[in-house]
Symmetry: C2
Subunit: 542 residues, 2 copies
């Protein structure tokens, strides 16, 4: 005989977050960099009013719950309005990565069945290319004023401002099932067609509660938050939801993401927290060192999307900026782990702390992790056992959009990463499961070997692959880009591994190249390297 | 046409919080002060194992989902085990306030229909008094080892350790509807029978996510958290759930809550954060001043349950301890508002900040507030308009336990407090609605007048009531306790109000008493004062 609690029930909806900000932080600003170099400012109260106009415009045009609306846009206020306006009425905001190849973008728009696609002016040439391949799109909306519309244009366009212009600034947000879809984001896998992850209002709301915690991103009302990570990449890691939730100021940097532009923006707007991939921060801190710049209020850079190399943390710290090392995936909304100090961390030696800092971190509450062997049996958390990383939790994918089979195994999502977990629950990714090097029955971490190489002052970029080997099955092979003026030799680089890894883990050889192959989102395409260099150790004279 | 998100669904259950701690902070300690002066220590992993034993014991005894299990206990590890073990199997942990009068306790146990009541040894005399008035209780369990059971005893007793002793340390936590009841807590109203608030797994889980945020209690894994607020008082404000959620160390101070014991405990155990009512912190900081003590790691005292007077904040700050001013109610689980800095706070003058610091604060995300006039119409947030405070949100009561009508008005819970809300959304309680003084059509805040009095060095405690007045309807009358050696006069105390409030708000008279009437939970019983002194100004010679 169950007994139901007697507390108020309200569904967890994204519209509540913005309404909360409009009521409880109504005067706090959302600042956006415009394509023309200008700055747009308004308050959460203004933002909410325009989002209500958008909701009226969408419903007036017959958009109903469950419909998909695509976006091709940088981080800016109109993109933010689309997040809330579309999801608020129960429709789905489908954020499209404009860096994909046009044919992939067309594939995604068709696969999602977008009824409307909204795009920034800078993507008009892209839309010109793909529009006739997307016959199901009824309306193309450019995020601009009416007089900025390009003419002629192969398909009919509307301007966003005209679309919402006459609509009332009042809208009664509907209450609906919190498990209803809100946001759709496709993963840019390195192989195969992109796969869509369909986030619900509930999954995002719970993720955002976990995100603001001190041991995650630690966000408060006094922060000014600038997501450098794009809003088409896993909802800019949830920051456009987290900032209104806590009443923080939000700075959306638009399309100019070069280090000088970012530094100027952060300094002028008093940004306190930002988030982005390591590449962004490497450039940012290099710029600061080169120009001998400090920065007034910027204190915390959240680093995710790829492992945060120790060298980056140290360089950032010298400039007064702490790095917060986080790990996640599109399939995890994206919050998985954050490398925040555990209870025993403050009492440890500097060396022990440094060993922890490079790890991906501990599971956010709401997420559980395990590592399993090839037989699917859970492995011990001893910091040594290495296995496939599986996750579960409130904001983990269940199945990909449009797929009729589960993405899970025994209720867990296999991440495709290979990791160890130590006695204090710090998880460390050692490889992608397809990148691990299996040498004579032992597993060698390609990431560890790459990181060592990257810490050499003469190396700009490094990849380590499993090359076929007649005796050992596979052996590590290093492929690196030297800095322009470097004369580093193979022998010198290999000698650099002495004492850093066991003898049998040192790469067998080094190949110098001018550039490494990256996919549209900047991820290393190791499969290309394996195709080209995978047999290098079998035929050393190839 | 709705579209359901395709994310994993797991109900929000309290058992998940402890399991998370056991897996991800398994070696972190729960420290409990025992009645005999000793200290008990174990880890979250140990705690989880014993909670699983308890779950086996309860189900073995036929306890099923929805059954109520009462507790009469201090803050300690067995009480914590009862929270998780009882709620984990879907039954309801009913935390009883042992400071109520025995007849109220018997009323509550019968009203709740508790099948089992578990109690600390120190409450054995109380149980002796009430046991025969609680015929529906099947089993009385004393939280002790078998050989500590008192004999003879009017009813048959079991010891907790024997009850769980032989049970397996393994239990598959059931998944059930997250809206199912988990914890039951009765409010100690100043009038009428106590009313039960029945928290659900969902309402508590969401409240705890909001609680750990930087702008709420700001809890992290590196903290050592000591809830001084009792576990029978709104789940110790959620801290026994929040500490495992973030992997913080938890220190449960047992029954010795005098300042010296607390100081020693906090110093020895390295407590970083604590929570309690202002009375606790007044005593604590007085002790520190008197004994000229500092404290090593204690940095944050959460102050709730009554307004935090400015004098307390200043005194605590001098000793290196920040106060976090929070407001809540049993009906709010209890988190309502926290006086954390808004975005514009850091840029304000010291005076402006001081004016903000005394306010109850801004709504936690998940809670909405409004103030309404006597006609139920919402009043503006201008810092001046004063009205009845209404709240709504994920962890607000819907109806009292056993009541067949809603506790809400138009979907909002009327708190019984009178408040203003300023342009930056800071809420300030000026009165309980029944305590407000209505003088010639103007409202005068009794709390403001009390606070001024309390800031006088000669005043130990003050109450201000509405006394009948032939001309003005009501006028403020002050009833105060002077410090033992004080010779303060009525005229001197009234003169102290000069320049602090408008002339017409200064109390008409002062009555010196030796003590003020408090109820069982330490709340001022103004209705007693009104009965005794309410006509003082009509018949000044009474």
């Amino acid at each position: 005989m169950n007994l139901t609690g007697q507390m108020m029930y309200e569904p967890l909806l994204l519209s509540s977050l913005l309404r909360h900000a409009a009521r409880h932080a109504g005067e706090v600003e959302v600042v956006s960099c415009l394509v023309d170099g200008g700055i747009h400012r308004y308050t959460y109260r203004d933002c909410h009013a325009r989002v209500m106009q958008l909701a009226n415009a969408l419903t007036g045009r017959g958009i109903v719950a469950g419909d998909r609306i695509g976006t091709l846009a940088w981080n800016g206020y109109r993109h933010m309005e689309l997040y809330y306006g579309v999801a608020g009425i129960g429709a789905v905001c489908h954020t499209i990565n404009p860096r994909l190849f046009p044919e992939q973008i067309a594939y995604i728009i068709n696969h999602a069945g977008d009824r409307i696609v909204c795009f920034d002016a800078s993507f008009a040439p892209l839309v010109e290319q793909i529009a006739d391949r997307c016959p199901k799109v009824e309306t193309w909306i450019m995020l601009c004023d009416p007089f900025d519309l390009p003419r002629p244009f192969p398909v009919q366009l509307e301007s966003y401002e005209a679309f919402i212009g006459d609509c009332a600034k009042d809208f009664a947000w509907p209450e609906f099932d919190e498990r209803q879809a809100a946001i759709l984001c496709y993963t840019s896998g390195t192989t195969g067609d992109p796969k869509g992850v369909l986030y619900s209002h509930r999954s995002l709301s719970l993720m955002v509660y976990a995100l603001v915690a001190p041991d995650a991103f630690g966000l408060s009302a006094t922060d000014t938050i600038a997501p450098v990570v794009p809003m088409f990449h896993v909802s800019a890691w949830g920051l456009p939801f987290a900032a209104p939730m806590v009443g923080a100021r939000l700075v959306l940097p638009g399309s100019k993401l070069d280090s000088e532009s970012l530094w100027n923006l952060f300094e002028q707007e008093g940004v306190t927290v930002s988030a982005g991939v390591p590449t962004i921060w490497f450039g940012f801190v290099d710029y600061m060192c080169r120009e001998d710049k400090r920065i007034e209020r910027f204190r915390r850079a959240i680093v995710g999307g790829a492992a945060c190399p120790p060298g980056l943390t140290a360089k950032m710290r010298e400039r007064g900026i702490a790095t917060v090392h986080a790990w996640g995936m599109t399939e995890l909304s994206p919050l998985g782990t954050v490398c925040a100090p555990s209870h025993s961390y403050p009492g440890k030696s500097a060396e022990a702390r440094a060993r922890i800092d490079v790890k991906q971190g501990r599971a956010a509450p709401g997420i559980d992790l395990k590592i399993v062997g090839e037989d699917g049996v859970e492995l011990p958390w001893d910091g040594k056992s290495v296995g496939d990383l599986w996750v579960r939790g409130h904001w983990v994918v269940d199945r990909y959009y449009g797929s009729d089979h589960s993405a899970l195994v025994d209720g867990w999502f296999p991440t495709g990463d290979v990791a160890n977990i130590d006695t204090e629950s710090y998880m460390e990714i050692t490889d992608r499961s397809k990148d691990v090097i299996k040498s004579g029955g032992e597993w060698i971490s390609s990431i560890e070997l790459e990181n060592i190489s990257m810490s050499h002052p003469d190396i700009e970029m490094a990849a380590c692959i499993a090359a076929e080997h007649p005796k050992w099955g596979e052996r590590p092979l290093l492929i690196v880009v030297r800095r322009p003026d470097s004369a580093l030799t193979v022998a010198e680089l290999l000698a650099y591994y002495d004492g850093k890894v066991p003898k049998w883990c040192v790469p067998d050889d080094v190949i110098f190249v001018n550039e490494l192959p990256l996919n549209a989102t900047g991820k290393m395409q190791k499969q290309v390297l394996r195709l080209r260099f995978g047999k290098q150790l079998v035929k050393p004279d190839a």
